[in-house]
Amino acid sequence: MSNLLRPALVLLVALTAVTGLAYPLAVTGLAGIIFPAEAAGSLIQRDGRVVGSALIGQSFTDAGNFHGRPSATTAPDPADAAKTVPAPYNAANSMGSNLGPTSVALAERLRGDVERLKAENPGQPVPVDLVTTSGSGLDPDISPEAALFQVPRVARARNLPEDTVRGLVTAQVQGRTLGLLGEPRVNVLALNLALDDLSRR
């Protein structure tokens, strides 16, 4: 047994130092030099302050902004730390709804959201991603259909012609990677920033 202890201890300590310290710290150093913006979280600044990350969705509720997908993230209840309260797009506590396909809670949430969206844009089919929560609760994207669905509301709230807003959405659509991987999508934060630029002009 004792002839096993020395190799075990030495290898554990040495390999821990290599894989647990040297490797992550070396990658941190290199990444900071080669890809400084990405390594720091792809943060977006406007007028000198951080308005978010290009990769992390944020909560939009104003009628004049495009909305992201519903988010199931929570935060500790300020009144009772043992409980949690809904806190959409809490980027310090990622999670999904974890509601199963036969859950009453899911069925009722979906029904309510579908009715609300139908009232907002009658006659159009409701895109499925606008009523389903993402896995992380931080999905930065919506489908092109979900963005186009919101065009009438946004145009009305911003007093812009619908065609202008629709043109903006179309310009923001990112296709599949290499024409093959993933799904076409629109980054909601980028779209709303572009919309702000347009309104400001």
């Binding site: 190799p7 990769l55 579908v114 931080l138």
Partner: protein
């Protein structure tokens, strides 16, 4: 299902297959001690490590010595990880001021990372300091993966050697695997991931002011370095709570593709290592073919079911499949593919929430784990798990024709079959035994978030994932309780070491045997007949063992859902 979806799946299979031979050749050279491309750089480090540890690299161990060395090493690793977690509040690199991890959660997490399970009862960004993530989790990601490969190599030596006493040196296999295989690949992958947008920083969280004027705290950290090994080593423990669904762990469709390829890359290539070391590459391809048949069947069911959506969604006129718990940048096909890959291998990372999958879409991940994660499987672990099934399949074939079964010139006798059955039976014991306990005890019934059959699935999935060392979960289950932390940790330890030790025992007894020349009566083990037999044995053993429990969970839920039934929460 779409044409594009199947093209993505076909491309994935093609890339994995293309990597089998080059990676297999490289790893064979590493494990047989030959010089490699990286030797000029790494050989001095390797020699320095052996000198400091007092290891004679030429001294080999018997299967028992090999197993003991592995157990002692893991015992110490367990203590180190437990200590880091318990003491993280007083240690450096804790910019967010995380408190010490509670004893039961630290026990669970230590067991989970030492066994390559990486079950997440911890919340990542909300519980762990950067030091715990790096020194605690990242290093166990490497070492548990290296151990899986070391054990697989020892078992391969059992088949390839004749009249030998030893199966290799655990210390040498562990060191060479870490230095020559895992570290260089991870360094390259980590930098690629940063380029794709995964953060790698020691700075604390960022406070942003959103466009609508609210505050958003964005958690950051040294993420890319951990994601690289978490996938390549089939560990799967996330830096963040939402794992690879989190945009910072998996920012683009391309990063996602590389991640799923890297889950399968080493495991698939290990079949080639096996073929090369036993002197007939066709033997490795036959095993990979059996894996491939089971894999493609699983992908078809899960992708089809998720694309078809659920009766609740379809009833509301929502088309486009089941997007609850999935991310837009991946969509249905890449989410379904990820779920099947991560459970076929013992990875357990998720890029979509399995709890929100359709009943049948979620059945396949569970079945993949119940079969013992032998479809490619965990790095190394998949191959030794599959070889255990090969022993049983050969035994069954021998019974059918009434002659002593043999595989690769080795007689398969009572001792090997007994050990194989021990390894196979410990999994259902922990999976079904744990589930049975949890469904009768109040502490267990307090766990599920969903009611009805889906609640049962949440419990079954948890014990299945723990014993199979997968680590993915139906996340609705509240697992961070004394009951689940303890019971799941026991499941993980048994599921890991009660498979490894019998596998090493088989290695020892095979190595000692003579190699017989093939005769006219030998069953060829590189053709379609053998592949079919192997797949059949796996399905019969797995199906007979687990069908009743699956019937109570996902199968009932599928029919109830199709009939329009829903279940209120907390029932």
């Amino acid at each position: 299902m779409t044409f594009n979806g199947w093209i993505q799946i076909a491309l994935f299979c093609a890339v994995v297959l293309a990597l089998v031979k080059p990676l297999g050749l490289y790893m064979t050279r590493v494990f047989t001690g030959e010089r490699t491309l990286l030797s000029p750089l790494l050989a001095p480090i390797e020699r320095g490590l052996y000198r400091a540890a007092g290891i004679d690299a030429r001294h080999e161990q018997t299967w028992l010595g090999y197993g003991l060395a592995m157990l002692v090493f893991h015992g110490l690793g367990f203590l180190l990880l437990y200590a880091v977690l318990r003491l993280q509040d007083g240690l450096p690199l804790n910019p967010m001021g995380q408190a010490a991890v509670a004893p039961d959660l630290a026990f669970n997490t230590a067991a989970s990372f030492v066994t390559n399970t990486n079950w997440q009862n911890y919340g990542g960004e909300s519980t762990l300091s950067y030091l715990s993530q790096m020194l605690g989790l990242t290093h166990q990601n490497f070492l548990s993966a290296a151990t899986g490969m070391a054990v697989a190599v020892a078992l391969i030596r059992g088949f390839s050697r004749a009249s030998a006493r030893t199966v290799g040196s655990f210390w040498v296999d562990l060191t060479r695997c870490t230095l020559y295989v895992l570290l260089p690949l991870c360094a390259g992958l980590a930098l690629f991931y940063v380029a794709q947008g995964i953060p790698q920083t020691l700075s604390p969280s960022v406070e942003a002011t959103t466009l609508e004027g609210t505050k958003q705290t964005i958690a950051l950290g040294p993420v890319a370095s951990q994601v690289a090994i978490k996938m390549l080593g089939t560990n799967g423990g996330g830096f963040f709570n939402a794992n690879a669904a989190h945009p910072f762990e998996n920012p683009t469709a391309l990063a996602n593709f590389v991640q799923i390829v890297s889950i399968f890359a080493l495991g698939a290539a290990f079949t080639n290592v096996f073929g090369r070391m036993v002197g007939d590459e066709r033997q490795g391809w036959a095993i990979l073919a059996a894996m491939g048949v089971l894999f493609l069947a699983g992908v078809a069911v899960t992708y089809g079911s998720e694309a078809a959506g659920s009766s609740v969604l379809n009833g509301l006129g929502l088309s486009g499949g089941n997007m609850e718990g999935k991310e837009i940048r991946f969509g249905i096909p890449a989410s379904a593919l990820f779920a099947v890959v991560t459970t076929a291998a013992s990875c357990g990372a998720v890029n979509a929430m399995h709890d929100s999958f359709t009943a049948l879409g979620g059945l396949i991940p569970m079945l993949n784990m119940q079969l013992g994660e032998i479809i490619v499987g965990g790095v190394g672990a998949g191959l030794y798990g599959m070889l255990v099934f090969v022993v049983v399949a050969i035994f069954v074939a021998g019974l059918m024709v009434g002659r002593t079964p043999e595989y690769l010139g080795k007689k398969i006798e009572a001792r090997e079959v007994k050990m194989a059955m021990l390894a196979i039976l410990c999994l259902p014991l922990m999976m079904l035994g744990g589930t049975a306990l949890a469904t009768v005890l109040p502490a267990g019934l307090a766990g599920p978030a969903n009611a009805g059959p889906h609640g049962f699935s949440e419990i079954l999935y948890a014990f299945t994932s723990a014993a199979a060392n997968n680590g993915s979960a139906l996340g609705g289950l509240t697992g961070n309780t004394l009951f689940y932390n303890s019971l799941l940790a026991i499941g993980m330890l048994v599921g890991r070491f009660f498979v490894i030790v019998p596998a090493l025992a088989i290695a020892g007894s095979l190595a000692a045997k003579k190699t017989l020349p093939a005769s006219a009566g030998t069953l060829p083990t590189h053709g379609g007949l053998f592949v079919g037999l192997l797949v059949g044995v796996i399905l019969i053993v797995g199906g007979l063992t687990f069908f009743p429990s699956l019937a109570l969970g996902p199968i009932v839920e599928h029919f109830a859902g199709a009939a329009g039934q829903t279940f209120p929460a907390g029932g």
